[in-house]
């Protein structure tokens, strides 16, 4: 069943234009790791792993070791290629259900499910088609209100569900407010499209090589858009507030600041950051219609220039990070990448780079670790080394050197069971190495399982007749057995 994937011979993967994520996935392809495992260790969602691998298979970049053309992909998880983001059944945390509350468990479940899907686009939230007329919107809004309005559970003991209901109702209210106003709706649609587009741009920048990849990641890109598009507070859209401030808009101050201020602090009221400059004339402002005000408070106001500025800044910082990286200053690089992420959180590349950096740093530490042979270490030192290896190993689960070292250290420490596990990992990826088998033999011997040890040594010798370790051990085993036999007779 396990069909490892390998880089096709004759291909130079360094010539491919890959995103960091794809590069990382490619680096996991070693001719031993099967597809199923790649899904887990690929560092990107399983569906994306599938998409990438399919594409590379088609392009002939990778191939299935020893398998037919279609044998690589395990069929069991095929469904995973369906949109991974919003499906109708949302896994809820069942521990949140509380039968002690004065609210039915099925209703609790429904509330939890609905709350988890609040980030859907407005029309989906209300359960109406994208272009639904105001009447349908109103009906849907009434229906959901009847279900989720906090008054439905007035005075009832519903614990944390009171807040959930309030959150849900506020969101439903917002959806109705936007969708029932043609102008707001248009603004919302544009912004949603803009956000989706922005995400697409990022996607295509990171994965320029393929159209398939972009379309495959479509559903997840709309998912990524929502934390921005759906936030209740315009303020939480960083781009909407930065750089968009009409400086000095209301500096023509008329009327006096509030007189009553006993505090020594400066007591002037704050100035609205992005309220219209029209504040100057109170009369004009009075004429400002409800629509205008609502528009200003729209959560979707995305200032494209501000957004671009932030992106550019993020790129700059990221380049600096890359420079530190190539100079080997990992800590500095990590800090820079983190800053870049805060400036442009939508860009997956940075996050992936951060992940890759951590792995690289781990590898670096591992290499230093392996410099000193473990046989010269004290037990305390050995334990430290083992701790370190366990830290690093999750990043490089199939690193032969690390596994080997871990097995040896465990053997030295007398933790035989663990040692066996490490060796077995080694053998999984590389079953044909004599030294690993003889190591297993030594561990089994130390464990006191002579028969298993003998099998392991013999296996080692069957691979490599010249394996010194195995030959010596087998010889000494034979001598020991001989002695024992003689002693027994005596």
């Amino acid at each position: 069943m396990a069909c490892p994937i390998a880089i096709a011979s004759g291909h130079d993967p360094t010539q491919l234009r890959l995103s960091a994520a794809e590069g990382y996935l490619l680096s996991r392809i070693d001719g031993r790791t099967p597809w199923r495992l790649l899904r887990e260790i690929g560092g990107i969602p399983a569906a994306d792993v599938d998409a990438c691998l399919e594409r590379w298979l088609d392009q002939g970049i990778v191939e299935v070791v020893g398998g037919g053309a279609a044998g690589g992909r395990p069929a069991a998880v095929d469904a995973a290629s369906a949109p991974p983001v919003v499906t109708t059944t949302i896994p809820i945390d069942a521990s949140l259900l509380d039968p002690a509350l004065d609210i039915d468990c099925t209703v609790q479940r429904r509330i939890l499910e609905f709350e988890l899907s609040l980030s859907r686009p407005y029309h989906e939230l209300l359960g109406v088609p994208a272009g639904a007329d105001p009447k349908a919107v109103k009906r849907a809004y009434f229906k959901l209100s009847k279900e989720f309005h906090p008054d439905r559970y007035f005075r009832r003991e519903i614990g944390p569900f009171a807040q959930r209901l309030e959150r849900i109702f506020k969101k439903v209210l917002e959806a109705h407010e936007i969708l029932s106003d043609p102008d707001l709706r248009q603004v919302a649609n544009q912004s949603e499209a803009a956000v989706a587009e922005a995400v697409d741009v990022v996607r295509s920048e990171t994965a320029p090589s393929s159209a398939t990849g972009a379309s495959d990641s479509g559903p997840s890109s709309s998912g990524a858009a929502h934390p921005v598009a759906a936030s209740t507070n315009p303020a939480s859209v960083p781009s909407a507030t930065t750089g968009a401030r009409p400086s000095g808009a209301s500096t023509t101050a008329k009327g006096e600041p509030p007189a009553t201020s006993a505090q020594s602090v400066s007591s002037e009221g704050p100035e609205p950051a992005s309220v219209a400059p029209a504040k100057v004339d109170a009369r004009t402002q009075e004429r400002l219609s409800k629509l205008e005000r609502l528009k200003q408070r729209m959560p979707f106001k995305i200032d494209q220039t501000a957004l671009a500025a932030r992106r550019a800044r993020a790129r700059e910082i990221f380049q600096a990070a890359e420079a530190s990286l190539s100079a080997g200053r990992f800590n500095e690089a990590e800090a820079s990448i983190r800053i870049a992420i805060t400036f442009d959180p939508s860009r997956a590349e940075y996050k992936e780079a951060l992940g890759a950096l951590r792995i690289r740093a781990a590898g670096d530490r591992a290499a230093k670790l392996l410099e000193t042979p473990s046989d010269r270490m004290s037990a305390a030192e050995l334990r430290d080394v083992l701790d370190l290896i366990e830290d690093v190993l999750p990043y490089r689960p199939h690193d032969a050197e690390l596994n080997l070292r871990a097995a040896k250290v465990c053997l030295q420490l007398g933790r035989h069971d663990e040692a066996v596990e490490y060796v077995e990992t080694l053998l999984e990826t590389d079953p044909d190495r004599a030294s690993h088998h003889s190591l297993l033999g030594r561990i089994e011997l130390a464990r006191g399982d002579g028969a298993a040890a003998r099998r392991a040594f013999e296996k080692a010798l069957s691979i490599d007749r010249e394996d010194l370790d195995a030959r010596r051990s087998l010889a000494s085993m034979r001598i020991a057995a001989h002695d024992a036999a003689r002693g027994g007779r005596r």
Partner: protein, 523 residues
């Protein structure tokens, strides 16, 4: 569980209702009346009188009988409306320690929530006698245009009356609930509420048991009593011409005129002309003088025509707010005794192009609706839902004395809205957040609900710090405001409690005082 009542605490009359066998029912008082005058008096021998008893002795004891105190509740003493009342009312209005108007009768000073509490206590008693069980919870109605302070004081009044107030709802909304109960299908309705002291108009949409308030508007100082006053004014002027006697300084004569005017007004809803006969209205050197005047419906309509037109202006505004045209309104519900006036009915019919709904009693429908809302909240099987709105815009005061709205009026609650503000000076370390309610763009013209200071802002050039101010109104209408410095994450917040309202200790003291009084009376 004891039953929950709905109380329409009116300017002139109050009414109480309860759900019986699934139907809202008005509870009559011991005298068989379905409404009780919102009056409170202290008789010459020191007895405290409420309702009909107070009204009966109002003429002879005008200085010690309080009426229309709803016009004062929750206002500040310097409020022009309070000043207007001081000129018009025979009882004494004084300035309280919290700058609130208080009423002094029988040598004792009462706060406005206390007086409203006395009326509510009477309504509670009426309900308890009828139901033969104690009542502890109520839904109370207020005019849609009541601000936060006025609502809060009404809640305090409930507390003083020994009632837990489940919810304060708007009168027109309550009327719509009573009208919409057991109705299915989609409808847009207009509730035109011209009561004794206030005018309210609301546009609502209902569908399948859900009632949504689209918009509401009105005038807290316009109502039937203004019509009475016009008649009184006319009579006084006429009498001055006729008998060369000025009745303005004579409180007893004024009270008699007021009663006669009200009665004539009501009679003119059914007849074309009425006689106003007030013998011995005054006396001068020539002996006693009598007032004898025939008031025609035509004359009345001439006297008050502009008031009715004024209400229609509000209706127009409300329709605009709701985004509905007059023709789109499916049903017009009239509320308040004053809507019995033929002129009002005629003008409303002309305005909407359709006859108003006839099925509800304008005096009782609000209390019925309050009872419906109480049932809605507490009965799990009830299939109705009210989507209520916030009556006035909420926001904060900003640099230059402007008002920045965060929550627009007529916004459905519960709701949260936020906005980012910044500093106005270099290295400004603190900002004061002043929470305001009202419709003016000038901060000073709106009501101050509360204020707090957010300090510890890191030094930065002006305009750089980002301070996020969030408003939150929960389902019970409680407003909380928070300000957060986005750079440091430092946060300050308040839950708005109106200024000038009674403290819990004061309420407790008033309750004890009244309990004491009741014991005395019985003993």
């Amino acid at each position: 569980m004891s039953r929950v009542i709905g109380i329409d605490l009116g300017t002139t009359n109050s009414c109480v209702a309860v759900i019986e066998n699934g139907q809202p029912t008005v509870i009559p008082n011991a005298g068989g009346y379905k409404t009780t005058p919102s009056m409170f008096g202290i008789s010459q021998d020191g007895k405290r009188l409420v309702g009909h008893l107070a009204k009966r002795q109002a003429i002879t004891n005008a200085r010690n009988t309080i009426f229309a105190s709803k016009r004062l509740i929750g206002r500040r003493f310097d409020d022009p409306e309070v000043q207007k009342s001081i000129d018009l009312c025979p009882y004494e209005i004084v300035r309280g320690p919290n700058d609130d108007p208080r009423i002094k009768i029988g040598g004792k000073t009462f706060t406005c929530p206390e007086i409203a509490g006395i009326v509510l206590r009477e309504m509670k008693r009426v309900a308890e006698e009828y139901l033969s069980e104690t009542v502890q919870e109520a839904v109370i109605t207020v005019p849609a245009y009541f601000n936060d302070a006025q609502r809060q004081c009404t809640k305090d009044a409930g507390k003083i009356a020994g009632l837990e107030v489940l919810r304060i709802i708007n009168e027109p909304t309550a009327a719509a609930l009573a009208y919409g109960m057991n109705r299915t299908g989609d409808e847009k309705i207009a509730v035109y509420d011209l009561g004794g002291g206030t005018f309210d108009i609301s546009i609502l949409e209902m569908s399948d048991g859900v009632v949504e308030v689209l918009a509401t508007s009105g005038n807290t100082f316009l109502g039937g009593e203004d019509l009475d006053r016009r008649i009184v004014q006319h009579l006084v002027e006429w009498f001055q011409d006729e008998a060369s006697l000025d009745l303005r300084g004579d409180t007893m004569a004024l009270q008699r005129l007021k009663d006669a005017a009200e009665k004539a007004k009501c009679d003119l809803s059914l007849r074309d002309a009425v006689e106003i006969n007030l013998p011995f209205i005054a006396s001068d050197a020539d002996g006693p003088r009598h007032l004898n005047y025939e008031l025609t419906r035509e004359k009345l309509e001439e006297l008050v025509g502009d008031i009715v037109e004024g209400t229609l202006k509000s209706v127009e505004q409300c329709l605009v707010d709701a985004g509905v045209t007059a023709a789109e309104v499916d049903q017009v519900v009239l509320v308040g005794g004053q809507t019995r006036m033929p002129l009002v009915q005629r003008r409303v019919t002309e305005f909407f192009g359709k006859r108003p709904h006839k099925g509800v009693n304008p005096d009782e429908v609000v209390a019925l609706g309050a009872a419906v809302q109480a049932a809605m909240l507490l009965d799990n099987n009830n299939d109705m839902l009210l989507l209520d709105v916030t009556p006035l815009s909420l926001g904060i005061g900003t640099y230059g004395g402007h008002f920045a709205r965060l929550i627009e009026r007529n916004t459905t609650v519960p709701v949260s809205k936020g906005h980012v503000f910044t500093t106005t000076r270099d290295d400004q370390s603190a900002v004061k957040i002043r929470v305001l309610q009202g419709e003016s763009d000038i901060a000073a013209e709106n009501d101050l609900l509360g204020e707090f200071v957010l300090s510890g802002i890191r030094p930065a050039p002006k305009g750089e710090p980002e301070i996020e101010v969030s408003f939150d109104i929960d389902a019970n209408g409680i407003v909380s405001v928070s300000a957060r410095d986005l750079a440091t994450g430092k946060e300050q917040s308040i839950t708005v409690s109106s200024t000038g309202k009674l403290s819990d200790a004061e309420i407790e003291q008033i309750i004890q005082e009244h309990d004491l009084y009741e014991v005395q009376l019985k003993g």
